[in-house]
């Protein structure tokens, strides 16, 4: 695979995310607002000593899910329906290079999200345990899994259906992943919820930045999604067609 065009493509992928209002809303504004709102009010009761200790890792998990799954799926789905992916297939930019550019763009946006959210959280009094290495590992694993789900949606459904399903998953996962409130409150449903990638990532980040460390089952779930979802996407993805 030649890498010609990969760098320029990656810069454009990042730029397209940041210059469009609805994509910026999804990737930056909502996680930041959520962090500030829930950390400074008593809307939700948490199980941590300080409210921001709960919501800072949650906001990071939400940011990763928004970028690597929802934004990637919707953008790719529309590029497919506009025949952009098909058109790129007739240029020397290989599918591997396009995929790498998209992955690189996701990571670049996540780094910016991490910087913005942790700075704001620090301002709100967040004092995490030193779990950055474990947190970054969990984020990379989760990104691979989320991106697999995103590409699976974008590569098999119509763009409008991708938009609907990705947004539906976003709301659903936001609700049952332990981002908004401690998972124990789901009661008997929580073991099922723990099998979801969003739940595993939220668990991992709460663990990494909290006193407990990352639970083994969170690593296992993240790793499983990181293998299965991209494999399914590679198997089912169609560059052209509805």
């Amino acid at each position: 695979m030649t890498r010609r065009g990969l760098g320029h493509q990656m810069v454009e992928e990042v730029r397209m995310t940041l210059e469009q209002g609805e994509r910026l809303l999804l990737t930056f504004v909502i996680p930041v607002l959520g962090l500030v709102l829930f950390s400074t009010t008593r809307i939700v009761i948490t199980n941590t000593a300080s409210r921001v200790d709960f919501f800072a890792p949650s906001a990071l998990a939400l940011a990763v899910m928004s970028t690597a799954m929802v934004n990637l799926a919707v953008a790719t789905g529309f590029e497919r329906s506009w025949r952009v992916l098909k058109r790129l297939g007739a240029t020397p930019l290989s599918p591997g290079a396009l995929l790498s550019a998209k992955a690189g763009a996701v990571l670049a946006v996540e780094i910016a999200q991490f910087a913005v959210l942790s700075a704001i959280a620090a301002g709100l009094g967040w004092r995490p345990h030193d779990g950055v290495a474990a947190a970054l590992a969990a984020i990379v694993l989760a990104t691979v899994g989320f991106a697999g789900v995103g590409f699976l949606l974008a590569g098999t459904l119509r763009a409008e259906a991708t938009l609907a399903v990705a947004n539906g998953l976003y709301v659903l996962l936001l609700g049952i992943s332990g981002m908004m409130f401690p998972l124990e409150r789901l009661g008997g449903f929580s073991p099922v919820a723990r099998l979801l990638p969003a739940t595993a990532l939220t668990d991992a980040l709460h663990g990494a930045f909290g006193p407990g460390g990352v639970p083994v089952e969170a690593w296992a779930v993240l790793a499983a999604w990181a293998v299965v979802a991209p494999a399914l996407a590679a198997w089912r993805f169609r560059f052209a067609g509805e």
Partner: protein, 313 residues
Amino acid sequence: MEPIAVQDLVVRRSGRVVVDGVSFTAEAGEVLALLGPNGAGKTTTVETLEGYLHPESGSVRVLGCDPRERREEMTTRIGVVLQEGGLYPQMSPLRLLRLFASYYPDPADPAELVGLVGLSDVAGVAAKRLSGGQRRRLALAAALVGQPEVLFLDEPTAGVDPEGRLAIRAVIDRLRHEGVCILLTTHELEEAERLADHLVLLRAGRVGAAGRPADLLADAQEIRFSATPGLDLVALGAHFGTEARELRPGEYALARRPDGATLAALTAWLAARHIPLAELRAAKRLEDVFLELLEDDPVAPRPEPPRRAPRRR
């Protein structure tokens, strides 16, 4: 060796044979038009040449190679305009062409390309705010970024206004003179007649007729001639008791069989008015060829499927 060679091509789509034994070749510096009603197999043939589709049997060769093999080398040597879409709606012409230029080893200058297709005035305007015709011109420019040896244009002028058509025709003429081999599809007869050196008429997945426009039109129903622009068409038509048309400035068509008496009468009519005659030929209208072909056709032409505009988010 011809840049484009199609031999006994059969292509199946969704279980149905769409292209059924098509053969043709195109030379460097030649414009070949695939002409036919919707559903005749034009796009399927082009997309097989572009490497998007597999032949069921027969072969396609582009620059001597199977277009699905050595994809990276192949894609640096071909340019493609899809039947629709293919542009990032949020990108301006200059931005899109700069991105595409980054894919190629020896790209053309994006700013020059924008000028070539007549989009300099809107070089910084997002594609979604351009007219349909402007978007087609941008798609053409994007196909030229890699300085291709073979160009595939699927309905390059569909939905394009007259000014845009002139710009596209001028670009095609220029590329032909530079030795590019151009394959285009159209269902518009006049467009094909104007642009192409070689016509392949498809119907129901088979070649109905093929040849140079002049050969296909040899069985003449019409007189064509060139003279000074702006002749009095009403007077000319009235003199011959038929319709006279000015196809483009200085080129005329007279709907009469080109028998000796009529030709003599025409030259006399021009001479009486001191109008120099530049060219005179007997021609059948391409439309007649086309209609004759379709009359033998068991499959009626399908209505045009609705074109979907690029969707916005």
